[in-house]
Subunit: 217 residues, 2 copies
């Protein structure tokens, strides 16, 4: 599948790109700057030992892909959505954003829509299937393919089929996904990230995560 | 330590009472009805094989205890707080409440304060140390002492010493507690419960829980 990762030069993007490319997916790193996108793509390809990742400006990346993931810092959430609104219509849009308080990343500052995911769904309109995923996965662990990621992926959104597609993309990375309900559940899923950041700071680690228990895997 | 469990005849109360009593704590089941409190206490004592648990009306239970836990359904949250406000002043108050949507327990219906925990802290005033805990632990597993509880306990609140005391009471049950920050974190911790309920329903199980990963235990 062709997957664009908008803001793919940031924290969470390169790790997702690398792990999807390793699983055989075709990945496009999106950025506001084509040059930066190409630079990160080249670095990741060098690491992979093959050219599975290319770099494009965000709107062109979204245009070229079937599935679009958004991994920008929350401050760029709405402006990035605006820049690709036309290109993502009818597609699956994976929102990885977390509305952290810019003054304190251990706190959330939820948008009026309730969560970034709900905000994206409202902004992009009903034709685009917004799915939340990967917010709780440590970018640090994700970026190091030698390292197992000890974290489940909570997936939510209003379109059941779109969630299934995203869950299969989670499985391709070797991670386990659980469908935790509609877009509204993203209030909790996004919020969990601030708690994991808080625990990372408190325990001086970089890979706090969660596992669900008592459920079939 | 003398622990009162208000609403202790309900879902989460008996399991907490049993496990604390097994760990040697002195437990008082609180209820609106003294008769009902005594009945549940007697049943639990029979199960324990010794009389470590007694039953009292909520205000008397709160009066007699050093630590007060609240396990009523959210619909009785404010009225129960009101009934024990005088008796809990200066003490540690463990809020286990979860503001589920009465029309759909897979959804949250958060109070204006942000969470039940913040509501309790605001209502009881600064002299009472409100700590959130145990919301994510399956009442089903908790109630069966033969069954290990595969779930971490996320503890939050604004008083660091009170959190430490509650965390030691979690440890006495054989569970692991993590301090996840101030009372505001309860928005996420309480919210997680609706997601676990959703997963219990979807997978037809009764014991979905969470574990934190990547952290020292």
């Amino acid at each position: 599948m062709k997957i664009a990762i908008l803001g793919g030069t940031g924290e969470q993007g390169p790790g997702l790109a690398l792990r999807w490319a390793m699983a055989g997916e075709e990945v496009i790193i999106g950025s506001r700057s084509q040059e930066r996108a190409e630079k990160v793509a080249a670095e990741l390809n060098a690491e992979l030992g093959q050219a599975r990742i290319r770099g494009l400006e965000n709107p062109k990346a979204a245009e070229a892909a079937e599935i679009i993931a958004l991994t920008v810092p929350y401050s760029a959430h709405l402006s990035t959505l605006e820049s690709v609104k036309a290109q993502v219509q009818g597609k699956i849009f994976v929102d990885v954003s977390v509305p952290l308080d810019p003054d304190n990343p251990r706190r959330m500052k939820m948008p009026p829509a309730g969560s970034a995911t709900e905000e994206a769904q409202a902004f992009l309109g009903p034709e685009t299937k917004v799915v939340a995923a990967f917010q709780n996965v440590s970018s640090h662990l994700l970026r190091d393919p030698q390292h197992a990621v000890d974290c489940d992926v909570l997936v939510c959104g209003n379109d059941a089929e779109a969630k299934k597609t995203v869950m299969s993309l989670v499985a391709k990375m070797g991670l386990h996904a659980y469908d935790v309900g509609p877009a509204e559940s993203a209030r909790v899923v996004e919020g969990l990230t601030s708690i994991l950041i808080r625990l990372n700071i408190r325990y001086k680690v970089k890979g706090a995560g969660i596992r669900l228990t008592g459920l079939p895997r």
